[in-house]
């Protein structure tokens, strides 16, 4: 299992892309975009948010973040600030951002039972 994951990582690295839990994106490109667009509010580390009402993104599931971004852009998820931000993002940008933030050291997790 570990070998298989390693293999996927190695193959991904060759393509400059990595497949993080079903989302294919380029984390380095995501970091660049995040620095320009997202970091002011969500923090470049995805943890130090500007305000408590903004979510921590570090370590969040990438497919969830990708869906959130797409829905902000389409208007299915309603938020004025995020709608404006998402308009400027392509599908590839969104995937790259999701993979980048998912890769960061996380402070969020699964609820205890």
């Amino acid at each position: 299992m570990t070998n298989r994951i390693l293999l996927v990582c190695v193959l991904g690295a060759f393509a400059g892309q990595s497949l993080a839990m079903g989302v294919k994106g380029n984390a380095a490109a995501g970091k660049q975009k995040a620095t320009a667009v997202c970091a002011a509010c969500h923090g470049i580390d995805g943890n130090k948010t500007l305000d408590n009402s903004y979510p921590k993104l570090a370590g969040q599931y990438p497919d969830y973040m990708l869906k959130a971004l797409k829905e902000y852009k389409s208007g299915k998820r309603v938020n004025a600030v995020m709608a404006a931000q998402a308009q400027g993002l392509s599908d590839a940008d969104m995937a790259n951002l999701a993979v980048y933030y998912a890769s960061l050291k996380s402070q969020i997790g699964t609820l205890p039972n």
Partner: protein, 107 residues
């Protein structure tokens, strides 16, 4: 454990208010029992639409209140979450957020 929660509740009480009802983490814990059915299982996937249910333990408190409010108002769409959120009062949402945001993550 109870001491930790009391301390957290006390610390939260001292924290500057972010403009929403103050949450009671102890009450939030029992309200949040339902949440663990999905948010308490690592890598749990929705049947439809299919994606991983987001990690919420340790998430920012005010964001959780906003998310629940948005589901209740229909600004966010998810059948299960809308149904859950509509069943909570503003105070209950604050209680849940106080509990959920105070959880340390296992990994």
């Amino acid at each position: 454990m109870t001491k930790t929660i009391s301390f957290l509740a006390f610390a939260l009480a001292l924290a500057p208010t972010a403009g929403f009802a103050k949450g009671d983490a102890a009450k939030g814990k029992s309200l949040a029992y339902t949440c663990t059915g999905c948010h308490g299982i690592a890598q749990y996937k929705n049947a439809y639409p299919s994606y991983y249910v987001p990690k919420i333990a340790g998430q920012n408190e005010a964001y959780i209140v906003n998310a629940l409010t948005a589901y209740a108002k229909g600004e966010r769409n998810h059948p299960t979450m809308s149904a859950q959120a509509m069943s909570f009062s503003a105070q209950e949402m604050a209680d849940i957020a106080a509990y959920v945001s105070a959880q340390k993550t296992a990994k």
